[in-house]
């Protein structure tokens, strides 16, 4: 029997059936090929029309194509109908159909501005294998950024490893982390490998799973707050990326910072691809002038 994959998060696609894209002036797409997940977003005249979020495979061009094909599914639209396509993420230069590649830092700022509104000034992107703290202005232009990609602590991949170690579905981790009598001290907050070893030791010592989960979420939150503190947190504050969906980490970050993060009107994991599609719209307009 196949082993249960506790790390596996929901892959899905969506499109807005109320939008008729035929004859629209600007159809743009963004594809974010990250180290763990890939997303494609399609905008029709600047409005969110379709997206897909899926796992990145071993081949970046194929992952980009898969995400794009899935976003296009059941829309009647083909790649040729899209006027401008932008690639982003760590695999951005390997998006075969992209007209331009833009860094994920700039795309998350722009996507965050669209998703949370133009009052957002600090965006924390908790990605698959890195964490970025970004300041942006009211147009979603980056004014300051800091990236941690040296260590997997505080990243989606770190959380996947942890879900498998504890045999807990990744989507349940946030809720379970609050089912403890008292908030435990964080496990080692500097390294996901040490954190894993420490968590195993705590389980052997008889700690209930939920308490270990709470300690790990606490460690992750503390780790990224340290990163954020280096550039400072200006209000409004928002979290993008897959971990933005994990309330166990998000609420602990909010508690440590003393700031409530804006709530997303959409999937936080698609912010990078959304920003790329918005860049696509601006670049399309520029090219037509």
């Amino acid at each position: 029997m196949a082993e249960k994959e506790f790390w596996r998060w929901k892959e899905y696609n969506w499109h807005d059936e109320n939008i008729d894209w035929h004859g629209c002036d600007a159809i743009t797409a963004g594809v974010d090929v990250g180290s763990v997940s890939s997303q494609a977003v399609i905008l029709v005249d600047g409005k969110l029309y379709a997206f897909a979020t899926t796992r990145t495979g071993s081949d970046s061009p194929k992952s980009a194509q898969k995400a794009m094909d899935w976003a296009l599914e059941d829309t009647g639209m083909t790649l040729d109908d899209i006027h401008y396509k932008v690639g982003t993420g760590y695999g951005r230069v390997n998006v075969p159909f992209a007209d331009r590649a833009i860094t994920e830092i700039a795309c998350h700022a722009r996507g965050g501005n669209f998703m949370y509104g133009n009052s957002v000034r600090t965006i924390l992107d908790m990605g698959g294998q890195d964490c970025k703290a970004i300041h942006c202005d009211e147009r979603g232009k980056v004014t300051n950024f800091l990236m941690n990609d040296k260590c997997a602590a505080g990243t989606g991949r770190g959380m996947e490893v942890f879900a498998n170690l504890l045999s807990v579905p990744i989507e349940d981790i946030g809720e379970l982390s609050f089912q403890v009598e008292k908030e435990p001290e964080p496990v080692s907050s500097t390294c996901v490998v040490f954190a894993k070893t420490e968590a195993s030791a705590l389980l052997r010592k008889g700690w209930p799973k939920n308490k270990v989960i709470a300690a790990y979420c606490n460690a992750m939150a503390h780790r990224v707050v340290t990163l954020l503190e280096r550039i400072g947190v200006e209000k409004d504050f928002a979290i993008t990326g897959g971990i933005g969906k994990n309330i166990g980490v998000v609420r602990r970050i909010e508690k440590e910072l003393g700031i409530t993060a804006l709530k997303a009107d959409g999937d936080t994991q698609t912010a990078g691809a959304l920003g790329a599609a918005l860049f696509g719209k601006a670049l399309l307009e520029k090219s037509r002038k």
Partner: protein, 93 residues
């Protein structure tokens, strides 16, 4: 834009910050030749501005690559900062 390159680990913080607003009006790009390790390059960024950045291959080992310029006993002027007359570069030490 302030671009921070580097990392923190158990032993400290190792960041080089470039205030790229200065780079647009910089004609000499002194950072490129000023750094003995060749850590800087000038690129066109996402907003189509010409800016300096730290090359990818140095970003995770700044502690070691900058060590020769940073004696433990003193804080001498760093070659990159001396070469950048607009004053765009700061180090976290």
């Amino acid at each position: 834009m302030k671009a921070n390159y580097g990392y923190m680990d158990g032993s400290g913080e190792y960041y080089i910050t470039i205030d790229t607003d200065h780079c647009n009006n910089c004609s000499h790009h002194g950072c490129i030749t000023g750094c003995p390790k060749g850590m800087f390059q000038v690129i066109t960024d996402d907003y189509d501005d010409e800016v300096a950045e730290i090359k990818e291959e140095f970003r995770k080992k700044i502690k070691y690559d900058c060590a020769d310029c940073k004696p433990t006993t003193d804080r001498p002027p760093l070659p990159c900062q001396a070469a950048c007359t607009p004053g765009a570069i700061t180090h976290s030490w």
